[in-house]
Amino acid sequence: MKLTGKIFWGKQSRWQLIVATAGFWIGLFITLLSIQFYLDIRQIVKRGEEEKSFIIVNKTVNVLNMFDKSVSMFSEEQLDSLQSQPFVKDIGLFRTNTFNIYADVSDQMGLAFDLYMESVPDRFLDTLPASFDWDSNEDFVPILIASDFLRIYNFSLAMSQKSMPQLSPATIKLIPISIKIAGNGQQRMVTAKVVGFTDRIPSVLVPENFLLWANETYGTGPSPQPTRVIMEVDDPANAQLKQYLQEKNYDTNQDQLRLGSMANTLKIISGISGTVGGLFVFLSFAIFLMNFQLIISRAKTEIGILLDLGYRPTQLAYTLNKQFFLILLGCVATVLVVEAVLVAAVHANLLEYGFEVTQTISWFIIAAALGLLLLLQGLLYLSIKAGIKR
């Protein structure tokens, strides 16, 4: 129906159409971008929120500790007291090795060193690979290391030592580490491998059952009291908690507490951005619909003449709607493409700064775009029908 198209899209309404389309494009772009922004922030904040509810507590180190390490240990009473505090949900004890560990990666990296190992109950781990499991029949021990250790190695140690290569997480996981454990007049060789990285606990972790067994077998003397305790709390910003820690002269990994307040700030920001995004959605929709309604009502005379000539209303609605729909579809498609490119670029940047975000545009965004398309198409069809009815 070329001629009818010519009538509706004559130069009379071309500028309105361009303005309305541009308005819709920009509105859709900002809307989808703010949804993406909101999702990103939520992703980051969520991780922060999980983190903030775990705090590692140890005693403050002072001159006394230099002479008697046992000063740093938590007594049973102290542990009971900690456990019974109302702001504490759960506590987990750090166990450490009471035997000697000697690690050798001289084949791969030209390194050999004394090592320590710790363990915490599995429920306190932020990452729990399936391979983090020890079988007493095997000579294999899985290890989790703090991601900070890898960072320190890659960006401090390896940079300053020419012989040491920088290692990606994937590479590290491939390196077998020969470990000699000795004590109690016995020794044994085992092979260890890094199976994962933890952001929560700054240590070298092995499965708890392995450490219990090894301490029993190779350990010297009775198992010492723990020096570090990991606890799960409802709210790390709790004033009672702060007071308790101060009174007892306990020290914590303050970073986690700071992350807690950062998460709160980000939450507020993402809330604001969500509100602004929602407002944009509403405004751009309103502008878009009003513009198209204007176009339709300006075509009222033309529609009237075509009806006089014997054109069916449904025929005209179809012609009008087809054009609008193609415009909408074009807008949605180009916005999604631009957004996908933008997200890939920005997220690659974020990754460099250590934020773990996916590099592809979220499915939710695509679904939202299609949802908006359908909603608008529905509204358009209604206003076209109303416009033709006169």
Partner: protein, 218 residues
């Protein structure tokens, strides 16, 4: 096709209604193939009557029946079918698209039913002396030229009745004769009825009846 007017009275004319009229508040029939002349001075509702019959106005009392069916019950699609197949019109204000060329205006109708070939369209335009003007946008034509485009357009479809609202008002005598001849030929070919509204009695066609809208002044 049969058009019946039953006690028809347009709302805007209720206050100034003449005492006697051949049409208003009368019951009359425009029968199949009948040629009728409608005479009245301006402002007495000639165009209103044609627009009521054509379905563009609903502000009236009484009924219009087309083939026995009240037009008030017609759906938009019913009207579209009627206007494509059975009822043609030349409006007083012509209802052309000013931005489209004369030719496009004609094709808009021609495409709809394909009753008349493009050659036949060109032939009619030649007879009326506007063939060379058809590339111009209608907005740039004189009223008389546009009137001729509208006359041709009204003949590009099948119809059983044609409504003409002062179709020759801006044409010279020669073109009036040609236009009338084209309309007459088309009507004869289709065995169609005709209802023409004018300011006074004319002799362009041979009429079966002449109706005065407003006898007091007629």
């Amino acid at each position: 096709m049969r058009i019946e007017l039953v006690q028809l009275m347009p709302e805007p004319l209720v206050e100034i209604a003449p005492k006697h009229s051949d049409v208003w508040q009368q019951t009359l029939q425009l029968t199949d193939g009948q040629w009728t002349q409608l005479v009245a001075p301006s402002g007495r509702g000639k165009s209103t009557l044609l627009n009521i019959i054509y379905g563009n106005r609903t502000d009236y009392r009484g009924e219009v029946l087309i083939d026995g069916k009240s037009t008030r019950t017609f759906t938009p699609n019913d009207w579209a079918a009627l206007r494509r197949e059975k009822l043609s019109v030349v409006f007083q204000d012509l209802r052309l698209f000013p931005d489209l060329s004369g030719w496009d205006n004609l094709m808009l109708k021609q495409q709809l039913t394909n009753t008349v070939t493009k050659d036949e369209v060109a032939e009619m335009a030649t007879k009326l002396g506007i063939l060379r003007l058809l590339d111009k946008p209608c907005g740039n034509m004189s009223f008389g030229e546009r009137q001729r485009v509208a006359i041709i357009r009204s003949l590009l479809q099948p119809f059983e009745y044609i409504l003409l609202d002062e179709p020759f008002s801006h044409l010279d005598e020669n073109n009036r004769q040609i236009g009338a001849q084209l309309i007459q030929d088309a009507c004869h070919q289709r065995k169609a009825g005709l209802l023409i509204a004018g300011l006074g009695a004319d002799r362009y066609f041979t009429y079966h009846q002449s109706l005065q809208l407003d006898e007091a002044n007629g």
